[in-house]
Symmetry: C2
Subunit: 363 residues, 2 copies
Amino acid sequence: MNTIQDVAQHAGVSVSTVSNVLNGRTDRMRPETLARVQEAIASLQFRPNTLARHLKTGDTPLLGLLVPSIANPMYGYIAREVETYAQERYGLRVLIGNTYRDKDKEASFFDDLLAQGVRRVLVISSLADEQHLENAARRGMAVVSYDRRATAGADSVVDHVTPDNYEAARMATALLIEQGHKRVAFATMAGMTMSRSAKISGFMDAAVAAGIGQGAQMLEGGQPTEYGDSVVSEVGRLLGARIGRDPQRPTGIVAVNDLMALGLMAGLRDAGLRVPEDVSVVGIDGLFLAALSNPALATVVLPVPDMARAMVERVMDRSSRSPAGCREMVFAPTRVMPGGSVAPPPDAGNSLAQKPRTKGKAQ
Amino acid sequence: MNTIQDVAQHAGVSVSTVSNVLNGRTDRMRPETLARVQEAIASLQFRPNTLARHLKTGDTPLLGLLVPSIANPMYGYIAREVETYAQERYGLRVLIGNTYRDKDKEASFFDDLLAQGVRRVLVISSLADEQHLENAARRGMAVVSYDRRATAGADSVVDHVTPDNYEAARMATALLIEQGHKRVAFATMAGMTMSRSAKISGFMDAAVAAGIGQGAQMLEGGQPTEYGDSVVSEVGRLLGARIGRDPQRPTGIVAVNDLMALGLMAGLRDAGLRVPEDVSVVGIDGLFLAALSNPALATVVLPVPDMARAMVERVMDRSSRSPAGCREMVFAPTRVMPGGSVAPPPDAGNSLAQKPRTKGKAQ
DNA sequence: CTGAAAGCGCTAACAC
DNA sequence: GTGTTAGCGCTTTCAG
């Protein structure tokens, strides 16, 4: 690796002139000097050492991204949008970490970032308290949190970017209501997070507004020991099987997210129920996988690219400005993507138990 | 952020003593001195600045990971395994980059890594030539490539970790043959890569060995302009629709990967064909999504966790040893995961056109 | 055992 | 315009 010294020598100038070129202060020199330096840089294939630069400037072109599990397609999708935008727009590289929603892992990631001189981080967490985020922010980090609202009252130093979970769940529920469903349920995994409770509110309010509040129920799957990916769908699958055995089962289910919905459909199938003939299912997220399922999963599409951009913008903005003007940005769902997983309820208008069926085409 | 100076002052020792503590050279000092330093470190919440350290040692605890797109569930899965293992075993953090299989993006990622002082990188690429990898390796990087074989003849300085693609395709094909399929096809997207051609060979050899070589065909979908994620399944979907219109269509299809298979199933459905009654489909990868599809996708499971570990081990090994002992590690598929997407061909034993069906249970 | 000092590669005053 | 120089925080000889 060549150093700035080598370039200076090669060009017959001093290091500061080279540094000036590197930092765009080209007005301070003769065009021919500039040309000479550029030539030297090119011929030596010189790339300034970012670390040495950081040591001086206290800033490194890295962005931390904390996700529960990058194997979860939704987080993979977000991560791709974030990385692509951060790179194209700001030349930032992304340091990724899987937290499995573990507090120690999150804290340790923050420590490492600090030690690496990384001063910007995007966090997709759902840990009950944001204390460690606030701490990091106070230690000089620009922190943007995804899928959470600002903690009421606290003058948070953390920015928030989140989909409108309440509205998303409301829209999903409305889709079922439009089809005439009276007994609806919201399926989620054990353990409450801010986004889940917002979705539950949206679901409940929609049901109550439609006059079917008493027919609305909660279905809570197990508490996954390992979070974030296949496990979510596995919980859905188990839940689907359980629903199959329930004579009082709902005719329409809103899943907390698409993975849960996909698992649910598999579980319902295992239990001998058909989607959508026996039970309708709606997801939330808008993963490309929804369109591939059989039947295609109806889902509320979240504006992932927009939110990814917003997170990057916020974190850049924050790291330049001083710790003020902290904001919360809430993104409305893009749209409802219809799918074959939703149809009118069996025995339309009648909310009593369905008789088991044994034949017919599942498609 | 406190510095080593602060700690030294706080403990009433010199910086070098603190440095010795930091680097485990505790034998060089009195136990009480050590205790005092440790106390100072703790009370100041001191974390040594990794960058400054790197500037001296020339090594940074970062691992580069290049993937076509992290939104592709398979790469997300690999990335998660890599990150988790690299972190737990070696305390390495992972710098991720989406290349969209673009040569310039890849090269630029390498440049950045070099500038960041990152000397280890894992590459999932399929670019025709590995020249840029070799270059990076020669510039002092430890490079491990996934899903490729070593270039024959060239004394590569790059390590290779790859599933046995030939064998995986062979196993997938055998699954169809066992069920009595005579007209089989291999579905892939346009554009040849090393792993794809290995799979094609495995597919062809299996067909020929079973005496149905003349009934084996290639189905090539479009060339996606943007690689790596939903697009793969989209190509599969288009391909599925095309197959539906083909009177000479195969009764069994091996897909180049699970995403393609999932897209294929959706496309076949769109075309009014049923899986597996009209056409059987087998995937390769073993994504958790395969088990969720309807019918469940039969797939050849690849040993992702093992391969992820091997990549990390190799890249660590390589960065400690000198550029010698370059290796190629090939991993046999874990197993065939059966699924409802495979069944005997229609009109078993007869390879002529199928008559359309309208009833029957789709599993 | 402990401390002083010389850098690692780069930036940014401050001179010339 | 261009060069000199003092660090950024840490590691590591080399003296004491």
